[in-house]
Amino acid sequence: MIQTAVEFAAVSRHFGDIRAVDEVDLRIAEGEFFAMLGPSGSGKTTCLRLIAGFEQPTAGQIHIFSRAMAGVPPYRRQVNTVFQDYALFPHLSVSDNIAYGLMIRGQGRSMRRRAAEEALELVRLPGYADRKPGELSGGQRQRVALARALVNQPKVLLLDEPLGALDLKLREQMQDELRSLQKSLGITFVFVTHDQGEALSMADRVAVFDAGKIIQVGTPQEVYHRPRNAFVADFVGSSNVLPAHLTESFTGQSCPASLRPECIRFVDTGGCLVTVASVSFLGSATRYTVLLDGTPLTVLSDNAQVAAQPGREVRIDWDNERLHCMSEGHE
């Protein structure tokens, strides 16, 4: 049976009048790659800091591997963090940075050195042991921060927007590496990001945060194709939200529904008649905004399909099973 790595029971964290985290319930399984996704100020980073122990909950209980964490300081938790800006110690060399946790636990110099070099191999940065953090590029620092956390063999690894400072190419490469590292080590990863693409491509499960609450938890597919409300639909990828009366005319159900832009296609006959409002070329695809009965819809179409000019009337169609009825409307 799979153990629960991290469990939140009605956890709140208030800063004065601000409810940064508001009665959150959460269960993260052992070995899971779990993403916390949300806009800035949605409470995801505070949740991470609650797990690390930098913050104490105002109310509620946190358990890590069934141990209650109330009053347990960060240095007594088997949890390590990769910080957003890495927080490498500038006065220590790369190997001393990596071996910091081992030094704290009283391991000898030669053992520390060996562990640091192994960890550098693991993050594909061999030969950098004697550099200072100031001499490394952003991507290299990121790897050192990762090695410094992993060398302690944490039960849970927390990553706070670890790829935020990297450029696009490097970010995609690190996404793959993090993912395969997590699979091979089997450590529970809790990953905070505001980048929905990152969350969807890497995580086993995603929690979508808004205003201190978790709106939806599920696999990337669930969250993407069956968003619980308009916020999730809009934040996780772009989405069209059909108002209730329009949905009713297609499915007979009266509820606001989400419809992903790539699920809409242009057709010659059938479907429904719309007016093209705008066209933008994205490189690998083209995005159209069309007006259906006054409701703007975004259509994402590969370039092979017929190009339409603004002002023209075209026909669009979709499979009605792609219309996902949302339980809550706009909030």
């Binding site: 390590n80 910080f83 927080a87 490498l88 500038p90 704290i104 302690n152």
Partner: protein, 318 residues
């Protein structure tokens, strides 16, 4: 055409007149700007400060004629050799020990204050902190020292306090300690030390606070995250990163104590410190060369101190 273009440009930036022309000229020639910025300080430092220091150094290589009391303007090591006689060595040793004790004590006393100010104080409390640290610097140094004389005197407030708390025995035990004790606090080395500590403390607190403030909070969090308890975090992260500030503060407290001649004269035993010796040699005794040589001693000690600090890596975190 070109003149109309020019006027168009002018009207675009909207600036005309000699001040605008000056700022444009300075913008185009950053070298000139730096020159203007530095010319006064460099003249000051070069002529007034370094010049007098150099004059002092030359004086220390002259000597005094024992019979006539006149200065012989010839190069000699004689005056420096005089520094090594027991009386002068005693003075130097006493002063260096006192400066070391004052520096270590002020570092220990200043750290919690600086840490609180850097990490916890905010807004109004921060302003209050600056005021509380700086306020003693506003009043005259002499007033403060004489106030301390009254506090530490045998009939003074401190004695009264100890008596009313029935801790008289403790004070007497303290004063009974050989060398640093004495008849009362105001005529003992303990008294001198306390007043030095009080007077120079702001010079330790302020650079220390600035240094601690510059250590980002997430370094401390990272250390805790990696298993470091508060003491280990202090020892391995905060202290090394704040060390340049502590060294800066210690330069103040150490060199100010080395050179001071008023505090030990008003409070303490009658034995001399370097500053007092310099004062008496250049005054009534008229022995300018020996006074100059004695003044070179703190300069050399500070130079050695900074060199050792650099060798030990105290400035690596800068």
């Amino acid at each position: 055409m070109s003149s109309s273009l020019q006027s168009l440009n002018r009207s675009a930036t909207g600036a005309t007149g000699p001040l605008a022309a000056l700022s444009d000229a300075l913008w185009r020639r950053p070298g000139l700007f730096v020159f203007l910025l530095l010319v006064l300080p460099v003249l000051w430092l070069g002529i007034v400060y370094l010049g007098s220091l150099f004059a002092l150094l030359i004086q220390s290589f002259f000597s005094i004629d024992e019979f006539s009391g006149m200065i012989r303007h010839e190069f000699t090591w004689k005056t420096y050799r005089e520094l090594l006689n027991p009386i002068n060595l005693d003075i130097i040793g006493r002063t260096v020990l006192m400066a070391t004790a004052v520096t270590i004590a002020s570092a220990i006393v200043a750290f919690p204050i600086a840490y609180y100010a850097a990490r916890y104080a905010q807004g109004r409390w921060k302003a209050f902190f600056y005021l509380a640290i700086m306020l003693p610097l506003w009043s005259s140094y002499l007033v403060k020292v004489y106030a301390w004389k009254l506090i530490l005197a045998k009939e003074g407030i401190l004695n009264w306090l100890f008596t009313s708390l029935h801790l008289n025995g403790l004070l007497e035990m303290l004063l009974a300690i050989p060398v640093i004790g004495g008849n009362s606090l105001s005529v003992s080395y303990i008294g001198t030390f306390l007043v030095f500590l009080y007077v120079w403390l702001p010079f330790m607190v302020l650079p220390m606070q600035a240094a601690i403030e510059r250590v980002p909070q997430n370094y401390l969090e990272a250390s805790a995250d990696l298993g470091g308890n508060p003491w280990q975090t202090f020892r391995h992260v905060l202290l090394p990163l704040a060390l340049p500030g502590i060294i800066a503060g210690s330069i103040f407290t150490f060199s100010l104590t080395l050179g001071d001649y008023i505090i030990p004269q008003i409070i303490g035993s009658s034995r001399l410190f370097i500053g007092q010796a310099v004062y008496s040699h250049q005054g009534t005794a008229g022995n300018i060369p020996l006074a100059a040589a004695l003044t070179v001693v703190p300069v050399v000690i500070m130079a050695v101190y900074l060199w050792v600090a650099k060798r030990k890596g105290a400035f690596d975190a800068l």
